[in-house]
Amino acid sequence: MSHAPVFDAVIHAPGRLQICAILSSVDDAEFAMIRDAIKVSDSVLSKHLKQLEEAGYVKLTKQAENGRQRTWIALTPAGRKTFAAHVAELQRLAALTAPEPMGQGFAG
């Protein structure tokens, strides 16, 4: 399904873009897995997730496992839709700014 290209400033920030990229490919992912994948500290990831959660783009679920609490994160339907629209906009912009293909040669 194609989405109308719409730029989203919350998602576009480095870090949040990668978080959404991972979450858009799965149903949900664990905090530590995302942290290791995008190579940030716990506090930086927490900040990004807070912003995404406030925007209504992700849902955090805490689960107790072997006495430890693990946080699972999933994109909300709104988050999934917004991310797809944002990627469509990035592709549109990238196509606009792509270098022109070389011509048939200099004929002067």
Binding site: H12, P14, I22, S25, D27, E30, I38, L90, A94
Partner: protein, 149 residues
């Protein structure tokens, strides 16, 4: 301050993030064997008389729950078979095969078919599960690569 990525850089970041997920896809073949075994038990057991058909169904569902739990714990993520747009068709195909074999397995239980039919149906379901599992993952892996472009 201009620390926001350009469209090209942003798309490259998305590709890199999805590629990192692809690296987590090296899971043991034993997982597919277990999945095949679970399907074999479920389909083959469906041809047995009660209470064995109920017991095999419950054991196979418990095995499936354990497998999901193992996957989540070891990879840190989960995607159900129907979520990825392309790989979901492998799941649909596998479901059709399993349902057909399940119907075959019911023959000795509800009709006058020989018991070995249920055993063969179970074996075929197990084989379909192993092949389907590997195929699903290959399609999903390719899908991750393609959507990252």
């Amino acid at each position: 301050m201009t620390n926001e990525p350009s469209p090209q850089e942003a798309l490259a970041e998305i590709a890199a993030a999805r590629a990192s997920l692809g690296q987590e896809l090296n899971y043991p073949f034993a997982y597919d064997l277990a999945y095949g075994g679970m399907l074999a038990l479920m389909v083959g057991g469906a041809g047995l008389q009660t209470p064995w058909s109920t017991i095999t169904l419950l054991v196979s569902l418990a095995a499936l729950a354990l497998m999901v739990n193992w996957w989540r714990k070891h990879t840190g993520w989960w995607v159900n078979g129907f979520s990825p747009p392309r790989a979901r068709w492998v799941t649909v195909g596998l479901m059709v095969v399993v349902m057909a074999l399940m119907g075959l397995s019911f023959w000795p239980r509800f009709g006058d078919g020989p018991v070995w039919v249920a055993l063969v149906a179970g074996g075929l379901a197990g084989l379909a599960g192993i092949i389907g599992g590997r195929l699903w993952m290959a399609v999903y892996r390719q899908e991750l690569k393609d959507t990252a472009r």
